[in-house]
């Protein structure tokens, strides 16, 4: 079974500084990888996804992530954050062909952008 570990539960960062959110997954087969963002009391919104091909994936709001198969990682980055990036971020993995096509989520990383 697949699992996802988000190494940081909280990340404080100053406005206009870069941020990196770490995600590691475990799976013995090929996976699809996702990053979602959740603003307070709302559902999850897709930031980006990796299916295959180029290991650098660009998403919405200036975010990007890099897939590293040897390190089983999918870290999310943004070169310059804005106050509006304050939110919780979730990494998720899905195994192709798995029953129910389930997404397994990490524990989340809460990003607090300070002025």
């Amino acid at each position: 079974a697949q699992s996802v570990t988000q190494l940081d539960s909280q990340v404080p960062v100053f406005e206009e500084a870069p941020v990196e959110l770490r995600c590691n997954y475990s799976s013995s087969v090929s996976v699809y990888l996702f990053w979602y963002v959740q603003y307070p009391n709302q559902g999850l919104q897709l930031l980006l996804k990796y299916l295959s091909g180029s290991t650098l994936v660009k998403g919405i709001n200036g975010f990007e992530a890099e897939f590293n198969k040897s390190q089983t990682s999918f870290h999310l980055r943004k070169p310059s954050v804005h106050i509006s990036d304050t939110a919780e971020y979730f990494c998720a993995v899905s195994v192709g062909g798995a029953a129910g096509n389930k997404l397994t989520f990490g524990g989340g990383t809460r990003v607090l952008v300070k002025p």
């Binding site: 009391n41 709302q42 559902g43 397994t104 990490g106």
Partner: protein
């Protein structure tokens, strides 16, 4: 385009009372449907998923049940709520006819407080 509706947005219920949360999807057919729970300060836990009408798979033993009476309707229920059932409940859909994407789409969530 596809949309997902989830209601109510907030709910305060006494211990021992019943629960019914509803989720409907528009714009696709035969989607996979999911109920997740997000407890305070924790990640997303998959509770149930369904690959078709009347087909429900439970991921964790608990005080809740799910039903899918129609193709695009997913209901989360409980006969008697416990304090530990408090949390943020999210419905999601993925796949379905006419949709080739791989990501899941989430409703806006229901904040349940059991008192």
């Amino acid at each position: 385009s596809q949309t997902i509706h989830q209601w109510p947005a907030t709910l305060v219920q006494p211990v021992g009372s019943p629960l019914s949360l509803e989720c409907t999807v528009e714009g696709t057919s035969n989607p996979n449907l999911y109920w997740y729970r997000q407890a305070a300060g924790r990640g997303l836990q998959l509770l149930f998923y369904s690959v078709g009408i009347g087909q429900i798979s439970s991921e964790v033993p608990q005080n809740l049940s799910a039903s899918r009476p129609q193709d695009r309707q997913f209901i989360l229920s409980s006969k008697k709520l416990l304090l530990s059932d408090s949390g943020f409940y999210l419905c999601a859909w993925r796949g379905g006819q006419g949709f080739t994407g791989t990501e899941a789409f989430f409703g806006q969530g229901t904040r349940l407080t059991v008192v």
